[in-house]
């Protein structure tokens, strides 16, 4: 009778969700205190945002050891998962937040406005991303997705003086809304078939599920729609059309944020959902992932070749990176193989290393190009703005070269370690075709990076003589380069992490 009094709230392990809380605290302070006080001196907005992300990283590292000793587990009544797969993603996302905050600070100072909102949005987007990668429930995942996406729409449009930024925001908003709707409809269909949205329940329900023909169709349509939702967010071909426009129109540090945090969150969540909830249907989605991956790789790298705007080039290159990461997911769909977990590890390692690479690369772009100078579509961020960079700014040129070589997957950079991981996963489960396609596309993509390097090293121009590298950007780019090289020379540092990575809490 007295149902209400017997309701027991879920036990909350506050420590385990403290990375989220750290970001939340930072966002709240920035928004509340920031709006009540005047302009903060000494770049404090950026430092505060970075500080909360660094705290989150430290807590994550502690939690990592905790998981090592006590094993992976579920939090808040099974809504979130605490496992190393999520923690590695958390570290990658928080690292990206730190680096991007510093880039943004310099960017905003150059534009003459420094405001707390941007940093607060980074942190709220980060919260959404952390929820997404740890979520063990499709509805919780959707909450995280929307928190992330709404922040990103605003960030894309955050340059109020720039028409292209407004356009990017609106375009992203409309297409992102569509994607979310697809995703939600998919969740509804899956719920209709199984009666649950918990990933782990989905798995048990589907494993013992005797497919009645029509029911199975509903389930598969549901899974397909969830995949479409993700594919929009990750920008897989053929759902990639928004990416180049939005990446180009958004302020460059924001682009770095979208390419790192937005992509990592969606990819990690995608992998978790499909590996945890739908392993019993892996024959169905594995084939689709194979096709999506191949298409994404080919279109991303080939179309990148003909671009003349550096941000569009990097947008397509980020599309092709997503294809690479999917190679790992495809490997994880081969459940019969004993090496199926290599795919998961490959994906986790790839996203972390990719985050550092891509933020560093866009960091250099942000320093070198000037969104403001020329508001027409391709003016100031054209490839030409890199001409002669290595002669006028040797260190910056060298840093960019290292980052580009890493993106191309040259040995002794982290990019090679990342690519090697997923290719190794694909080969060990027998997906030779996909591995070959991926490697050939890496060569095509290398042409893109070579074009940028040619402009930096081999072209004579003095335009870049005026490029100055502010201190905070210098730190950001430096950290990215150091990570890229150290991991390149000593891959063991990252691979040592790997042993428990594939133990997802919800499996």
């Amino acid at each position: 009778m007295n149902d209400i009094s017997t309701f027991v709230g879920p036990v909350i392990d506050w420590l385990a969700i403290s990375p989220l809380l750290a970001l939340l605290a930072g966002a709240l302070v920035l928004l509340l205190v920031g709006s009540l006080t005047g302009q903060w001196p000494w770049r404090l907005y950026a430092h505060l945002a970075a500080l909360s992300a660094v705290v989150a990283i430290f807590v994550s590292v502690r939690l990592w050891d905790d998981v090592d000793t006590n094993g992976a587990r579920l939090l808040i009544g099974g809504a979130l998962a605490l496992d190393q797969f999520a923690l590695l993603g958390t570290i990658a996302i928080c690292l990206a937040i730190v680096l991007v905050s510093y880039l943004t600070s310099d960017y905003l100072h150059r534009e003459g406005v420094d405001m707390p909102e941007i940093y607060a949005l980074y942190l709220t987007a980060g919260i959404g991303a952390l929820v997404m990668i740890a979520s063990n429930d499709l509805v919780v995942l959707f909450l995280g997705l929307e928190t992330l996406s709404l922040s990103l729409y605003l960030l894309a449009a955050s340059n109020r003086q720039q028409v292209s930024s407004q356009e990017a925001g609106l375009k992203y908003f409309i297409l992102g809304g569509f994607a979310s709707a697809f995703f939600l409809y998919g969740v509804a269909l899956v719920y209709g078939v199984t009666g649950s949205t918990r990933l782990i329940n989905l798995n048990t329900a589907l494993a013992s599920f005797i497919p009645v023909p029509r029911n199975d169709a509903v389930l598969l349509i549901g899974i397909g729609m969830i995949l479409i939702g993700f594919a929009f967010k990750v920008s897989l071909v053929p759902f990639q059309a928004w990416t180049p426009d939005v990446y180009q129109g958004a302020p460059t540090p924001t682009t770095a944020f979208m390419a790192s945090v937005g992509k990592i969150a969606a990819l990690v969540a995608l992998v978790r959902v499909f590996v945890v909830a739908f392993p019993s249907r892996s024959d169905d989605w594995g084939a689709i992932i194979l096709v999506l991956s191949a298409l994404t790789l080919v279109v991303g790298s080939v179309v990148a070749v003909v671009q003349t705007n550096i941000k569009r080039m990097l947008a397509y290159s980020s599309i092709s990176h997503a294809g690479f990461i999917l190679v790992g997911l495809e490997a994880a769909s081969h459940r019969a193989s004993p090496n199926v977990d290599d795919g998961l590890i490959g994906v986790a390692v790839y996203v972390v290393l990719y985050a550092a690479m891509v933020v560093g690369t866009f960091g250099v772009v942000s320093v070198v190009t000037n969104d403001q100078a020329n508001s027409d579509a391709s003016g100031s961020t054209s490839l030409d703005s890199f001409k002669g960079l290595a002669k006028n700014q040797p260190m910056l040129g060298l840093a960019m070269t290292v980052l580009l070589l890493a993106q191309a997957g040259m040995p002794l950079t982290s990019g090679f370690v990342a690519k090697f991981g997923v290719i190794q996963a694909a080969v060990s489960v027998g997906s030779y075709e996909l591995a070959v396609i991926a490697m050939v596309c890496a060569v095509i993509a290398a042409f893109v990076y070579l074009r940028i390097m040619v402009n930096m090293w081999l072209a004579d121009r003095t335009d870049t003589a005026t490029v100055v590298v502010p201190t905070l950007s210098r730190i950001s780019i430096g950290v990215a380069v150091v990570i890229t090289l150290v991991v390149g020379f000593l891959p063991s540092l990252v691979l040592n992490l790997g042993s428990n990575l594939a133990e997802l809490a919800s499996r």
């Binding site: 090496n339 040797p394 070589l405 040259m410 040995p411 002794l412 090679f416 090697f420 290719i423 190794q424 080969v427 060990s428 030779y432 591995a435 070959v436 490697m439 050939v440 890496a442 060569v443 290398a446 042409f447 070579l450 040619v454 090293w457 081999l458 891959p491 063991s492 691979l495 040592n496 790997g498």
Partner: protein, 502 residues
Amino acid sequence: MIGASTEVLAFPILSSLVILPLLSSIVVALLGRTRAEWTKLAALTSSVTTGALSLWLLGAFKSGDAGFQFVSNQPWISQWGISWHLGVDGISLFLVVLTGILFPLVIVGIDPHHNETSYFAWMLLLQAGVMGSFMALDLFLFFVMFEIVLVPMYFLIGGWGYDQRVYAATKFFLYTMAGSAFMLVGIIATVSLARRDLGYVTFDVIKIAEGATFSTNAARWLFVSFAIAFAVKVPLFPVHTWLPDAHTQAPTGGSVILAGVLLKMGTYGFLRFGVYLFPQAAMWARPVLYTLAVIGVIYGAIAATMQRDLKRLVAYSSVAHLGFIVLGTFALSSQAVTGAVVQMVNHGVSTGALFLLVGMIYERRHTREISELRGIQHVAPVFAAIFTVVMLSSVGLPGLNGFVGEFLILIGSFESARWWTIIATVGVVLAALYLLWAYQRVFHGEPDEANSSFKEINIKEGMLMSVFVAIIVFTGVYPKPVLERIEPSVNSFIEHVESRTK
């Protein structure tokens, strides 16, 4: 057969051959910011030390021993079974020594004209990569070295080359990288298939070759994946088209290194990895490779005959020579493989020297057009004499080094690849044709106005060339010390192949 020698040396000479140039390259790059005048000295010291170390290696190498010597084996990425595993045997010894000698000569002898610091830094990085490729006994390490070589070479061609340099550099980079893309997949597949036999993951090429057996079909696919990478690097017809561009546009130093050692990474790779790991598949693929090699010999020779640009002529002659080497490699008889190994070194010496001489001509006349040059013999007889020796070595005149290798290859291949060998022999005649004809046009006749001021070879250039001439003559007259170091390793290599293909 080729078991790693267990000897532990106090001084890790092989590792230092890789690490010294690598560190020097970083030092040079850093020096350039403050003390630009010291960079050449630093580069020189480093490369001369490396050269001396490689000569010491040659002296300390035990000539009767077939196995790997001076082995250095440290775990590197233990999770993936990857180790820093270096070793030299008779097959790689002379390539390592050649790399050790060629770089200091190039660094001393050729002036980059601008941006010295970065030029030397790239050169030293290149040396580290090439050294590593020739000594690596771990597939992963080999791939890393094989691939990293592209970056410095790309910048050397692109930064210090001639008019079409960016095009040539990009073409070089993409061709080679496309080849290695297949090899990377092949390497990973090899390792993951070998794991079933070995029970553990290892990239160690000896363990895989000795311990793992692949199904016929798998071995063929794997061999093809390796062969694509090496065929591009060699280069074999029809993927050779990057070579003439890269050679012609590269600065002289780049061309010398490219012809001298870089191309050998392909032929060496065929031996050390392609054939060693998959002997049966190599047997199966022989007819195709013979055919491509012989097409290379004939096509390279004909194309060389028709070139108007002296450097392009030498580049095409490389295609022809490397065809011979591939023919010998796949004949898989003791003589032919020994010949192929000898010829790898010989080609490095004589073609490297030819590129140097062509570079000197360009420095003086600012043209490489054969039709612009005439009668140089009259104004620069010593230069002409050196050119003659080097050219005749390239033609394969008995008494000079080129003859030893070509002769062994042709004799050794006659058994297993009779008709191909007969056609390839035509290539020897053609080589005489295009080189002598070019010589005649450039050096004979009366010098016109522009050529009459052609400067005679100076002391520095003369000393540089005398090293090459000495090697050419010594190997030609007295090849025994070279052969007796190569043969034991080749013999045990052939035994391995035969035991696997029966």
